[in-house]
């Protein structure tokens, strides 16, 4: 760290200079020129020293907290007994405890016994995992699997899969843009922004019905330039919980096909939404059956409770096997300079669970239980709201929505009221995570929602 005002002759001298307290004015703007400061005691002497530009990063502004993950941070800081965390979508038991699936514990113990090594995976990830994940998604008997038409890369959960796909789109489809639903998961925009892929929104949520604006959705997809990438939530739309019906999916596929758009599915809740792996994959399979090329990002964070292990996959269904090989080779070229190769632990857990019929059966059962608990909580919340709210407002959207989240229809001010007055933590778009709600807390939540909805604007 040098300056024009004095020469750096030894590490000690420059260290003294560097640790000078700086009298800083202004709001974090980089200030050039000399500053006079008083050093800390060094060798029992206090010295005056001149220091120039104490940091090259002085001008770096403080970033705002993540709107979703920041909620949990705020929740942790709250000391109130009544507090409730309905922010991030992580499953909680009725006792509001995090949940590690029994089948996951079994798999990990099995892995301990096997004592496998920790060598680098290939760039595309664990082969057994890639096979299992594609079969789970498309069905093992699906022609696209049998014909070897799917390029699958193990990636860092849903986010990592989306980011790889986005990098691929940026490089090979530089003219294309991605259409994302309004609203969508908050991080989608960040992913495409950082990957430098332009995006625009298609209408999705209708606040009047607290349902799907289907006509708006179709119109916007229709109006987009041919060959756009359309980001679709495979099931359990985040944040609204509102999914198209099977008939609506057919119409969506029609317009996508007509416009030669590329369907791009984000599948973060397979098995978690309805309780059935196959049912929750039906939208994806519908598109694939039409012979379309499709991108699908997968995550095992929720359905196998493997949140922190970061396990997922990007799949690209291609027209022919040799196309899939080329696509896979280019995805690898994007993964290598990002993280070289993916982490083994979560991949082995998935491969073990899916590969053993008994464990696979147990998994399906635990998944049904998790999905079931959420459905029960929806019912109880609906019942509480209907009983307590005398205004006659129709709360049935809570029962129609599916998956971990519910879009309550609360606006930002109302959501703030939920937090400030009731110590209920949620994202500012009015989204609550039902996975973080217990039957015991439904009445309290109902009171809070009714208060926020009617008394706050």
């Amino acid at each position: 760290m040098a300056s024009a005002a004095f020469t750096v002759s030894s590490p000690a001298a420059s260290a003294v200079a560097a640790r000078s307290k700086v009298l800083r004015g202004g709001k974090g703007e980089a200030r050039t020129g000399c500053r006079v400061g008083i050093t800390r005691k060094n060798f029992s002497r206090v010295m005056m020293a001149v220091a120039v530009d104490i940091s090259r990063f002085e001008g770096v502004p403080m970033a705002p907290p993540d709107p979703i993950l920041g909620v949990s941070e705020a929740f942790r800081a709250d000391k109130n007994d009544l507090k409730l965390n309905l922010g991030v979508g992580a499953y909680r038991t009725e006792e509001l405890q995090p949940y590690v699936l029994n089948v996951v514990k079994k798999a990990e113990n099995l892995m301990l016994e096997k004592g496998e090594n920790k060598e680098y995976l290939p760039i595309e990830g664990l082969a057994a995992f890639n096979k299992a994940t594609a079969e789970l998604l498309f069905g093992a008997d699906n022609p696209v699997i049998k014909q070897g038409r799917v390029a699958t890369l193990q990636s860092l959960s849903g986010t990592g899969s989306l980011r790889l796909a986005a990098a691929f789109i940026q490089r090979y489809f530089p003219e294309a843009k991605v259409l994302i639903s309004s609203p969508t998961w908050g991080n989608h925009k960040n992913i495409f922004n950082d990957a430098r892929v332009p995006w625009s929104e298609y209408r999705y949520y209708d606040p009047k019905t607290v349902g799907l604006d289907f006509e708006g959705m179709i119109a916007d997809i229709q109006a987009a330039p041919d060959g756009s990438f359309v980001l679709l939530h495979g099931c359990a739309h985040n944040p609204t919980g509102i999914d198209p019906t099977p008939e609506q999916w057919e119409k969506i596929a029609d317009v996508i096909q007509e416009k030669k758009h590329m369907p791009f599915f984000d599948v973060a809740y397979q098995g978690f939404a309805s309780g059935s792996l196959d049912e929750d994959a039906s939208s994806v399979r519908l598109f694939v059956e039409r012979g379309l090329e499709v991108f699908v990002a997968q995550s095992y964070s929720k359905n196998l409770g493997l949140y922190a292990e970061r396990i997922g996959a990007i799949n690209v269904v291609c027209s022919a096997p040799e196309v899939a090989n080329r696509v896979k080779s280019q995805l690898k070229r994007l993964a290598r300079p990002m993280y070289s190769n993916p982490p083994i632990h979560g991949a082995r857990i998935v491969a073990n669970v899916v590969g053993d019929p008994a464990m696979f059966g147990e998994w399906k059962q635990e998944m049904e239980e998790m999905a079931g608990r959420i459905k029960n909580v929806r019912q109880k919340l609906y019942d509480s709201l209907s009983a307590k709210d005398k205004s006659g407002k129709d709360w049935s959207f809570i029962l129609r929505q599916i998956g971990m989240f519910s879009y309550t229809g609360l606006n930002k001010t109302q959501s703030d009221n939920m937090t400030d007055k009731w110590h209920i933590y949620m994202t500012k778009d009015g989204r609550i995570s039902l996975a973080g709600l217990s039957l015991a807390k439904c009445e309290y939540l109902a009171d809070a929602i009714i208060d926020s909805f009617h008394n706050v604007s």
């Binding site: 770096v60 920790k118 022609p143 960040n190 993280y339 070289s340 190769n341 982490p343």
Partner: protein
């Protein structure tokens, strides 16, 4: 079946040059084949190694009934971050005590370099990074995709098979003020040639006088010399002068955690206030890339580093690995001497770390693959960790043949 494809114009990408060596090796049916490609440690029996202390740590974690798999914070496991910073900078490091270090858990060395590069491309005024010639093959790709312009500085001198120190000083002197400079903390990959401490001091002074920003890549702490502190000296020298730097740390080799992808990026900043802001911006780089890092490997590292018995066990196993490699160097050197292989092979014992830059050219490398089933990268780099007392005779025969038959 879909008849046409939007990917019609897409070319097949070539296999990654380093990882592709193992792919080719795996395909080879020869019983005498030797894989000296990728830098993963092998035992004397030629097997991958999971450290005993790692197995123990893993057992403790998996048997712990209160362990959960909730998302880590974007910055990773806090305990892991603190311990990692202490490991590389020293427990008494003033930079740590003054809270001037922003540390984020990342996906091993690659992930740390990429996140650091992206941060610099967004927030640093100089977008050029100087990398040594040669360097790890993935470095230029990581930094280019991060948004930086890559230039190189002279490093390896083929004539001496050592450091081109004059060239290095000249090239760094002519770099624009403020440019970023990638430095291998120890055990330079691929050459195994490291500056001496005196040379490091000269590099430090030159860099500080030109405000060049150091970006250290530390993938072999403890693995090179066998001593964690010794292998961190270059880094600590720079931290001691109070200046700023970036540090990409990997536990792939020194804890044998390759596939778990454990590492950390630390940015030593001029003040605690800056460090807080820098950390907040690092989160904005990470969130749209993979949201938060994987927990398993980081928990293993934290478990070991915070327990003094386990830490000591680790240092013993680590030294064991380093010593075996040093022994391989000596044995290979002796074997070539015994065969009277033409040339000066002393660089084999002078170079340090996992790799030796043999000085073999690509024709000789291809010959050795073809005739002797020896697999290495085409730049003549061999991984000493892939050698054993048993395979050294075969390798030295191959080198001898290559050097005498081809020029």
């Amino acid at each position: 079946m879909a008849s046409s494809s939007v990917f019609a114009g897409l070319a097949q990408a070539p296999e990654d040059p380093i990882l592709g060596v193992t792919v080719a090796y795996n395909k080879d049916p020869s019983p005498v084949k030797v894989n000296l490609g990728v830098g993963a440690y092998r035992t004397e029996e030629g097997k991958p190694l999971v450290l005993d202390v790692v197995r123990r740590a893993e057992q403790m974690l998996i048997n712990n009934p209160s362990r959960v798999k909730e998302y880590l914070p974007i910055t990773g496991l806090a305990e892991f971050n603190k311990l990692s910073a202490k490991l590389i900078f020293g427990t008494d490091s003033p930079a740590i005590q003054e809270s001037r270090v922003a540390t984020v858990q990342c996906l091993s060395g690659t992930g740390s370099l990429r996140v650091g590069g992206e941060f610099l491309a967004r927030h640093y005024h100089e977008r050029t990074i100087y990398i040594p010639q040669p360097t790890w093959g993935n470095h230029p790709k990581v930094f280019t995709l991060a948004g930086l312009t890559v230039r190189s500085y002279r490093y390896y001198d083929p004539a001496t098979r050592g450091l081109d120190f004059q060239g290095l000083l000249e090239d760094l002197s002519s770099a624009p003020s403020g440019a970023i400079v990638l430095l291998h903390a120890c055990a330079h990959n691929p050459t195994g040639v490291d500056p001496t401490l005196d040379q490091w001091e000269q590099i430090r002074q030159l860099m500080r006088s030109k405000s060049l920003l150091p970006f250290f890549d530390s993938a072999y702490q403890g693995f090179a010399s066998g001593s964690l502190d010794k292998d961190a000296q270059s880094v600590r020298m720079f931290v001691a002068d109070g200046g700023e730097l970036l540090m990409a740390q990997s536990y792939a080799k020194n804890m044998g955690l390759y596939g778990e992808r454990v590492g950390a990026l630390s940015i030593v900043c001029g003040s605690a206030d800056v460090a807080v802001r820098v950390e907040s911006q690092l989160k904005l780089v990470i969130r749209p890339m993979y949201s938060n890092p994987p927990i398993h490997g980081a928990s293993i590292v934290a478990t070991i580093l915070k327990d003094s018995d386990m830490f000591n066990e680790w240092t013993v196993e680590l030294k064991g690995m380093a010593d075996r490699i040093i022994s391989m160097r000596q044995q290979l050197f002796d074997a070539l001497k015994t065969r009277g292989t033409p040339g000066d092979w002393s660089h084999i014992i002078k170079q340090i770390g996992m790799f030796t830059f043999t000085g073999l050219n690509s024709d000789q490398v291809a010959f050795m693959r073809q005739e002797y089933h020896i697999y290495m990268t085409s730049d003549g780099r061999i991984s000493m960790a892939g050698l054993s007392t048993r395979t050294i005779p075969h390798l030295s025969d191959a080198i001898h043949a290559a050097v005498t038959k081809l020029k």
